[in-house]
Amino acid sequence: MSVDLSVDVGGLQLATPFIAASGCFGYGLEYGDIVDLSTLGAVAVKGLFLEEREGHPPTRIVETPSGMLNAIGLQGIGVRRFVADKLPGLRDCGAVVLVNICGSTTEEYAEIARILADADGVAAIELNISCPNISKGGMMFGSSLRGTHDVVSAVRRVTTLPLIPKLTPNVTDVASFAVAARDAGADAVSLVNTFLAMAIDIETRRPKLSNVVGGLSGPAIRPIAVRMVHECRQAAADLPIIGMGGIMTSEDAIEFIIAGAVAVQIGTANFVDPFVWSKLREGLTDYLHRHDVPSVSALVGTLDTTRGHTA
């Protein structure tokens, strides 16, 4: 029996469910020498604003128990340079490109989406309404139901590309945000972005990050992320979910798929092991064989809740 790793994420066809997470894989081309980008389900590129941004001064990351904090501040080349300088190379590599976009205003999100609608080689738009460490935009929208609705519907009006809002975990009831995104026209949602967090150097009594606060990622957040995927699946079973948060191995990815994710993103793990992709594919294939499951889609949301209570 050969198993089928391909998945359909709200109209977006992927050869495998493994996607490089935004901000953890540059613009993808940085990895072109060591990873065959066409073997990834997709590449979510570093978050893009309309204009170039310098980001925060160093120090931008700090390691924490089984995780890390980052406050990069969305340094980036802006959407126009991305389309001109990076997209052709990504097309040549055969990469499926999710463009992660961020705006300070609803109008900026829509403007970026318009530019991308005319570009060749964009598979989908991931709406970053969840970046925790910029002063305007990002999580400002994603932590209000109104803001989520406004950004998603504004972008929906200007693009026919699959639209995937990326949700923040820094809210009480993430499922209500998934529902709001769906009702505003999202084709799928991705979650989670990083958890707002902080670390202090006790010798100097100063924050370890120049931005004072940053986003926590890595294995430390995985159980919370799994719970959030589960909640979104329960609240909106018709809405495809891309799950992420601390996935290091195929076992971790399978956990998210069982909870209800149709695809998963790999962020921090990629820093630890840039060659993780083939191991993920092999591990998942092996699991499907062992459990006699013919395809990834047949595994999605197969959580057995007959034992124990679920929320």
Binding site: C24, I34, R60, I61, P65, N70, N270, V272
Partner: protein
């Protein structure tokens, strides 16, 4: 092209209570590594510590036929990964991704090479010294440490025909003070028209001081910066360095555009800690 090797520790020499040199069986790394390049090291398979840490390739080891057998790392025990490296035993495994980064430019005769090292910054220079020797470049190492027993591998550099100019904070060996003391003297005794290529690696204030001292003599310095690094491959944008360019100051990634920078282009006051 970078490789990820699961290298076996051949030896670990503890040089003092905080410095050690680890020799790793990693022929594919040694084959490719250029002076100034680094590897991303992980000493455990677990999630804590999670991230790799950057280390300079210290020496490239070769067999009698000149084939690369591995690399060594010069380590100073400070944080969690450096503590693990200090405690390694022969037979242990260390994961090394590399070689990575932009290398030093290697001087050519008649140019002289002056390498300026502070503390564990010495790690950047053994491979460079071997390359300079192969080109018959007249090479001097200016090397500063806290005390006499804090200066290591002097014989390694002597065997590569490197002239040594030492300094210690307590004056127990070489000049009393930091490494800029003998460097300043060398500038005084060297004609400005003599071609010299300068390299520096060590604490940030020292690299800045060397760059500024050299600039006052009309000379450039290649510095090897040690930024906090997430991935080493350009993926995360955490290791950025503020660099002055024709169109203003920009943050550039140390893992791709460095770790070797023209010291004169670095905006030192914005470099962070």
């Amino acid at each position: 092209m970078p490789v990820d090797v699961d290298a076996v520790v051949l030896s670990n020499t503890q040089l003092s209570h905080d410095y050690n040199t680890v020799i790793l069986a990693a022929p594919r790394l040694g084959d490719q590594a250029l002076p100034g390049q680094f590897v991303m090291v992980k000493t455990t398979y677990g999630d804590d510590p999670l991230l790799r840490r950057p280390f300079s390739v210290f020496e490239i080891l070769r067999d009698d036929a000149g084939r690369s057998t591995g690399v060594s790392l010069l380590n100073k025990r400070i944080g969690v990964t450096t503590r693990a490296l200090y405690a390694l035993r022969p037979g242990d495994h260390v994961r090394c991704l590399g070689p990575l980064g932009r290398p030093f430019s290697v001087a050519e005769p008649p140019e002289q090479a002056w390498m300026v090292a502070g503390g564990v910054g010495l790690a950047a220079f053994a491979t460079l010294a071997a390359n300079l020797r192969a080109r018959r470049v007249d090479t001097t190492l200016f090397y500063g440490g806290r005390r006499a027993d804090d200066l290591f591998h002097l014989d390694t550099f002597e065997s590569l025909d490197v002239h040594l100019r030492l300094a210690t904070d307590d004056g127990s060996r070489g000049d009393h003070g930091n490494v800029t003391v003998p460097l300043r003297r060398a500038f005084v005794s060297t004609d400005r028209t003599t071609p010299v290529r300068l390299y520096a690696c060590g604490p940030t204030p020292m690299m800045r001081a060397v760059t500024e001292l050299a600039a006052s003599e009309g000379r450039a310095t290649e510095v090897s910066l040690e930024q906090v690094m997430g991935c080493g491959l350009g993926g995360c944008y955490s290791c950025v360095v503020p660099v002055r360019g024709p169109d203003g100051t920009h943050f550039v990634r140390s893992c791709l555009d460095g770790p070797i920078f023209d010291g004169g282009s670095v905006v030192w006051e914005q470099l962070g800690e």
